[in-house]
């Protein structure tokens, strides 16, 4: 009897150790990449990086300020498309529908998550760019938004389903209408999960280059007209990374570093804004 207890305790300790090692293995490559970004790009992250437009090779200075602004604008547009559709679509899957119907919708969403991002670029190109005969930030934002939709939808659904049924029942028993129950009770409880879903999707599309090649196109200058081509960090990084020049390479790494840190701050900011201010009731 005692032996079996000891064995169970040992198993538990081993499992804890194993999961710790796994956590290290997961963080390791990501940390290595980040360190490489720092080493290769930090030297090029200076004041001019954040304030100047790209300069041709051989000319000192130059930065990616238009790309940084452009990425923000594109992400904003993408969020406009992706967040409402994704979140409320996920709500439907979790709260309404039929077993068969929802299975189909879920399946379709999973398939969409596997579409290579370059295909999304081609699709929006055919849909928007060719029709209007112009590249635009709208097209870019749309492509990114399309990528976000199935991702947010599935994750939102998963976290909403984890809200215990009892919460819903209690709310309905109090006479609160169904939609209010969903919005104020269920979604509020799962808020952190939904926020994670949105942030993950934003992070994913923030680094996407391929879909923007045929939609947002890129711009070496300032552009605040969303119906015109717009600069974006991944595009600028890509252009510089495939060039022959060391100076541009460093700027590419710097761009990647700035992008990653940008996402980090957005992440922190949003989590701060949605932090729990009161203890959970149940």
């Amino acid at each position: 009897m005692k032996n079996s207890h000891l064995w169970r305790k040992t198993k538990s300790a081993l499992a804890s150790a194993a999961s710790f090692v796994c956590a290290l293995l997961v963080i390791a490559p990501l940390a290595l990449v980040f360190l490489h970004l720092l080493r290769s790009g930090a030297s090029a992250v200076n004041w001019s990086f954040f304030t100047e437009l790209p300069k041709p090779v051989g000319v000192a200075g130059g930065g990616m300020v238009n790309a940084i602004a452009g990425s923000f604008e594109l992400l904003g547009l993408a969020a406009l498309v992706g967040v409402p559709v994704g979140v409320f679509g996920g709500v439907y899957l979790a709260e309404y529908g039929t077993v068969r119907g929802n299975w189909l919708l879920r399946f379709v969403a999973d398939v969409l998550n596997g579409v290579p991002s370059i295909i999304w670029g081609v699709v929006v190109y055919g849909l928007v760019v060719l029709r209007l005969k112009s590249f635009s930030a709208y097209a870019g934002g749309l492509a990114l938004g399309f990528i976000m939709i199935p991702l947010i939808m599935r994750t939102t659904e998963e976290v909403l389903l984890l809200v215990p049924a009892g919460y819903r029942e209690a709310s309905l028993a109090l006479g609160i209408s169904r939609w209010k129950t969903i919005v104020h009770i269920v979604m509020k409880t799962a808020l952190k999960g939904v926020v994670t879903a949105i942030l993950l999707a934003l992070a994913r599309v923030a680094g996407e280059t391929a879909p923007l090649l045929f939609t947002a196109f890129g711009n070496r200058f300032w552009n605040h007209d969303l119906s015109e081509p717009i600069a974006a960090l991944p595009l600028q990084i890509f252009s510089y990374a495939i060039s022959p020049y060391d100076d541009w390479h460093r700027q590419a790494w710097a761009g990647a570093l700035v992008l990653v840190v940008m996402i980090f701050f957005v992440n922190i900011l949003v989590r701060f804004l949605t932090r729990e201010r009161v203890a959970r009731v149940l």
């Binding site: 790209p54 300069k55 041709p56 090779v57 051989g58 000319v59 923000f72 604008e73 904003g76 547009l77 969020a79 406009l80 760019v129 060719l130 005969k133 112009s134 590249f135 930030a137 509020k188 808020l191 090649l213 045929f214 196109f217 890129g218 711009n219 070496r220 200058f221 300032w222 552009n223 605040h224 007209d225 969303l226 119906s227 015109e228 081509p229 595009l235 252009s239 990374a241 495939i242 060039s243 022959p244 020049y245 060391d246 949003v270 804004l273 949605t274």
Partner: protein, 340 residues
Amino acid sequence: MTNLRKLSGKFLGLIIAFGLSATASAQLTINGAGATFPYPIYSKWFDEYAKVDSSVRFNYQSIGSGGGQKQITAQTVDFGASDGPMSDENLAKAPGKILHIPTVAGADVVTYNLPGSPTLKFDADTITGIFLGQIKKWNDPKIAALNAGGNLPDQEIVVVHRSDGSGTTYIWTDYLSKISAEWKQKVGTNTSVNWPTGLGGKGNEGVAGQVKQTPGAIGYVELIYAIQNKMPYADVKNSAGKFVKPSVESITAAMATAQIPEDFRFSITNAPGNDSYPIAGATWLLVYEQQKDATKGKKLVEFLKWALTRGEDMAKNLDYAPLPADLRERVLKRVDEIKM
């Protein structure tokens, strides 16, 4: 929740307001797309030209030669750029006549990873043999014959080619097809081919990176990449039988001796002449003969004229070969034919 709602509402509102405030400046933007090879020189030109004429700005993005051809045909951009001339089939698809305006030229060099980084010599026979997978080792007698005294190791040759479609590959395969009937029949000429052997690297930087990392590797990259990455590159025997070092001068020499047809869709690989480097190629700007937008068209023509005169002088500094003088004259005459 309400705090977040308010904030996100304000944030989105800001973005929309920001975005919709179209810059009502007097600046005209002309968009161009295409080849990656001339991106650095074009961005230099556009930057310099902005000082000459501040009322217009040129936005050029490198999405690939094929992309450039497609976008100019679809008229989503105002001009295109391509490292390879457009085929008859593709030109027929365009809604109007497209002119090929050559701007600068570059070269494909043979780069490799060997101890000591010697400057090797290659000829048609050895290059074809290596890339067809027939010559497998560095100390093969055929290579040794050209490089007496070069300590060629008894090591397997690891061939690295491009995996992505590109003008660089087009120039390379065009050259090989000209000098080897076997290559022409087995592989052919295109921006992307069915390689008999070797690993595929993405982009010039992919090939350069892979050659640098793999001892015994050999690959082809644009001259600029070899120079910037400080990689060794070989002298190649040209059609006149001379071993020529790839350089801006030997590329311009190839353009001077090559046969240039009226529509400027030329190939300068294996060009005649003692000083010509055999694996060279030009890059073109693609513009419609009949411009849709008169204002943009005018500005475009003014820029082209500037580029073909003042711009050419800047090419050498960035390791691009400028057009030889008489070709330049011919091209300028063609630019005059652009109608508004």
